[in-house]
Amino acid sequence: MSSRFRNTAFAGQRGRSGYGCHPERSEGTIAMAFNRPFGSFASLRMTIASLRMTIFATTVLTLVGCQREERNFQGMPPSATSTMPATRQTGLQPGPPVRSGPMNGPYEQNAYGVSQGKTLYNQFNCSGCHFQGGGGIGPPLMDDQWVYGSSPENIFETIVEGRPNGMPSFGGKISPDQIWQITAYVRSMSGLLRKDVATGRNDDMQVRSQEQAADKAKPVQSVIPPSAERQ
């Protein structure tokens, strides 16, 4: 075994792979650009005022753009979900509760995360029951009816813990980071995310309008969860 490779494998995190897009930095650049003399004092004050607004606007823009485009490869630190009982081989039994951690809906503004969520949604067979949002074995996800809540935390919990009426628990099976990505995608199905963050069509058969064209649904608590049929 080559020792170099061992080093590589255990090398510390190499930091973010994106070249980073820190609003602070942009701010600094702009401030510098405006640091030249501006003539009279009055106009200087006005300039500073408008400069502040410019900085503010730029920061907002930068934040929006950066957050949307960030490729956060490193993900969040894996949470303590790894202490799952190793005997649980399928998830049809509800899993143990998992705290969703301090970050709630970290991918709500992130197009890359949503897109990853969409890929995982299909690959992890979420689509097997919920299809492309219309439902079938599981309830629809593209409508405004939510049996177990529509907030990112609710959806995260639903995926992690499962729900009694057939929703398997995926806690420990899917990394929390990926669950958050799936969560963001699920919310995009009914237009709960910004359109410029939601995904376009897949290179597959088109069976529904693309998520970025989804009308924003106003989530309502579903009156009749499937389990209500049981007395």
Binding site: T8, F10, Q13
Partner: protein, 325 residues
């Protein structure tokens, strides 16, 4: 073979100009010819340019002199005619080589299907008996001296299959079935890499073509057809439990177990492979552990998530994975 030994072998055999197959040799010869002609012509042209620039000039006027213009015309015409001739020669040679490369090798060829994924290679050995199909990843074993027909597919983006030492490249294009003939003269390890930009980890989408002696290839293939070995020790049994209960099972398949997902490489015979992470790291316990715990530090953007496992579970998992010969 030790990891470092393997890598030095790769180093030697990772070149277009060191061909180890009939196809690559044909192309190498074509290159030799073109190179030779080009160098000669280049030297001639540069010599003409330098001579034209620095030649001693008489006191003659720069005005156009009809006689000199005529001789210039002749010179330019001859040069042009030579250019045309050389190009025509190239063309004939090219087409001849092209025809030889696309010639079919008949039924005796081994059929292998290679599917490009972001960012690894799925390899399927096909057989008329479905039971004998075998799936592996990132390492293509072939019998040395026997033609191999590769079927090249992709279901995500365009990739390109390129082991320079033994073959030209061919793209794997969604919606298009491509094929390629391959043959390695001598047993050896030939490295290749994806040659079409395919996203974040295009740079580390490598693979090995491993040419075996026919008999060792046959035994290798027979082993690949088997289902995974059942864990025998408590540690490996625990490792299998960890595998089936953790994130692993969502993406990877190990035949003979309930793990049957095709998102990531098939791990049925993981321990029989020389590298992991698509030809990126030698398959050692340390690398495997590093890869499982934090793949994103090795291949940022790869689809495998980081996994924080209990140290004992990790050791058990590693023991299990290393038992998958």
């Amino acid at each position: 073979m030790t990891a470092s030994g393997m890598l030095s072998l790769i180093q030697q055999s990772h070149s277009v100009l060191n061909p180890s197959s009939p196809q690559a040799r044909l192309i190498d010869r074509l290159w030799d010819a073109m190179y030779l002609v080009s160098v000669i012509v280049f030297l001639l042209v540069v010599a003409a340019l330098l001579w034209g620039t620095f030649r001693r000039r008489g006191p003659e006027a720069p005005e156009t002199d009809p006689g000199r213009e005529r001789s210039l015309t002749t010179a330019v015409s001859i040069a042009t005619a030579l250019t045309v001739l050389i190009l025509f020669g190239f063309l004939i040679y090219d087409v001849a080589v092209g025809r030889q490369l696309t010639r079919g090798f008949g039924k005796e060829a081994l059929q292998i299907r290679v599917i490009g994924h972001q960012w690894w290679w799925e390899v399927q050995y096909r057989d008329s008996i479905p039971k004998n199909w075998a799936t592996t990843a990132n390492e293509i074993h072939i019998p040395a001296g026997r033609p191999v027909a590769l079927e090249l597919l992709s279901n995500d983006v365009i990739h390109s299959f390129w082991p320079p030492t033994i073959s030209q490249k061919r793209d794997l294009i969604p919606g298009k079935d491509n094929s390629l003939w391959l043959q390695a003269d001598t047993p050896g390890v030939y490295r290749g890499q994806c040659a079409e930009y395919c996203g974040n980890q295009h740079a580390k989408m490598g693979f090995l073509v491993i040419a075996d002696r026919p008999d060792s290839f046959a035994s290798w293939l027979a082993r690949q057809r088997d289902t995974a070995l059942t864990p025998t020790t408590a540690l490996t049994r625990r490792g299998q439990e960890v595998f089936l209960a953790s994130t692993c099972v969502m993406c990877h398949a190990i035949s003979g177990t309930p793990a049957g997902s095709r998102i990531g490489p098939d791990l049925t015979h993981l321990a029989s492979r020389q590298t992991i992470a698509a030809g990126t790291l030698p398959n050692t316990r340390g690398n495997l552990a590093g890869w499982i715990v934090n793949p994103q530090s090795i291949k940022p953007g790869t689809r495998m998530p980081p996994n924080q496992l209990d140290p004992n579970d990790l050791q058990a998992l590693l023991a299990y994975l290393e038992s998958l010969k």
